[in-house]
């Protein structure tokens, strides 16, 4: 029985004009979504493992080689790293690392701005590390450790910018060296994160 006969050979009126549509519908959808995934992974950083392509185990570039560093920056230019994150913030970061567009990092920044952050009283030195992973002195900067303290009340305005550095690691099997590259820095103003 085909689509031109009097009796439909299926129960979905949507496909009444072509029984072949029942067969080829999902292959077409799969091809379109895979093409979109390839485009987004090539031009917008979407991890090849996600989004409907077939790139599982196709590239090192994914969550395994991406990481983010988060800072609260003050008007005088100083910045403090956020070292302890809540589960919801970690999930938002994972999401942003898979698809590293500004919108997703803004979601991370908004999540950070819902919390009051407490800083450690003492500054922690930044240690210089040589290529073998051994300490090689102290860097010029030092930071306070910042940890979530309590949820911020709605009346209280968020102060300070939020800066998120998006990093990627690459591995050279010939020299067995791993190189980290700052791929992009996202900065968000208090107004943005409170919207």
């Amino acid at each position: 029985m085909n689509g031109s006969s009097d009796q439909p050979d299926h129960q979905l009126g949507f496909f009444r004009y072509s029984s072949r549509a029942l067969i080829i519908c999902m292959p077409i959808v799969a091809l379109v979504i895979a093409a979109r995934q390839v485009y987004l992974s090539n031009y917008h950083g979407l991890a090849v493992w996600k989004g409907g392509g077939m790139g599982m185990f196709a590239s090192m570039d994914g969550q395994a080689n991406r990481f983010a560093q988060l800072f609260i920056t003050q008007s005088d230019g100083t910045r403090q790293p956020l070292t302890h994150l809540l589960r919801v913030q970690k999930d938002a970061i994972d999401n942003a690392l898979n698809y590293p567009v500004r919108r997703n990092f803004l979601a991370v920044a908004k999540s950070i701005a819902t919390i009051e952050w407490a800083s450690s009283p003492e500054r922690m030195p930044v240690v210089l590390i040589d290529s073998k992973g051994e300490p090689a002195g102290r860097a010029s900067e030092s930071y306070h450790m910042m940890a979530p303290f309590r949820p911020r009340s709605r009346d209280e305005k968020w102060k300070g910018n939020i800066q998120i550095e998006f990093w990627k690691m690459s591995y050279n099997p010939l020299t067995r060296t791993c190189h980290a590259t700052l791929a992009q820095t996202f900065a968000f103003t208090p107004d943005e994160v409170q919207q």
């Binding site: 439909p8 050979d9 299926h10 129960q11 979905l12 496909f15 029984s19 029942l22 067969i23 519908c25 999902m26 292959p27 799969a30 979504i33 895979a34 090849v48 493992w49 996600k50 989004g51 409907g52 077939m54 790139g55 599982m56 185990f57 196709a58 590239s59 090192m60 395994a64 990481f67 560093q69 800072f71 790293p81 070292t83 994972d94 999401n95 898979n98 698809y99 997703n104 922690m124 030195p125 930044v126 240690v127 590390i129 040589d130 290529s131 992973g133 090689a136 860097a139 930071y143 690691m169 690459s170 591995y171 099997p173 020299t175 067995r176 060296t177 791993c178 190189h179 980290a180 590259t181």
Partner: protein, 307 residues
Amino acid sequence: MSMAEPSQGNWARRFTLEALIKSTQQLELVQFVSLLTLFLAVTFPFDHWLFIITARVCLFLFLIFPIIIRKPAFWAALALSATVVTILEWATTDNHKYLLLYWLWVVVFCHAAVDPDQKRRVLVFNARFFLCFVFLAAVAQKLSSPSYRSGEMFEYFLYCDPRFTAFGKLVGIDPKVADAVQKILDFFKSPFSQVINNELLLPGTDRARIVALALTFWDISLQSLIGVLFLWRRTFTDKIAHLLLLFFVFTTYLPAPVFGFGWILAIWGLILAKDRFPKISAAYFISFPAILLYQLPWREWVLGMNS
């Protein structure tokens, strides 16, 4: 002894390979694929409450009214919830979960057809399409990726992906190497360390490099062969493709914990093999419990063994 109580000899005969082959041949394809797909949706679901609840409710309804598994609306409920979940979390949804989504819609369309031949055609065409698509698209993405072609990806995962640590130990890569690499890479991630020139030497091994290159060669050749052979649509090439697909399913999903993906590949293989290759369809039948057994905590056992 009554007919309902067969002797021990009869039981033994029942569980021979021939009996298994005969049993798989007697199964009605659409019904069997529907059951396997429902099991897949319940056991390896999307990680979202909406889909998990829908799948469990569907399982409950099936247990009470088994006939419901033949209704398009039953499958549409599952497919719609999968669609909503995928749209909500499209960028974090793993690629193989999209295959579950597509397959649920294929089962909807299969049950929407009234004619039994049409139902079979929906399943058979889509099973072959998705097998070719999955493997050939994967090959294309892998060959276009420099970090895959160089073997860099598998080597990096042998060091950094905890899922590979036990496998690495089995092939002679000391888990201490992976621990050391992880510790070194943490220097990049900590704001309290500044790596000079942003470059670190990893304490890798030659063996890891060789294993990575072997994995790369094994993976790309197997996948390209399966995809190409299924395209041919000849009895001989299909037979070889099925054997390779079975080899892929039985070997890949032991180290790679993406059991839902293995399950769906086995469903597609079974659909194409069932009426043409009785022994191969019996092997697919065996692959389902094998995939379930692969979830044993063998990694912990391997890592706990003294080397």
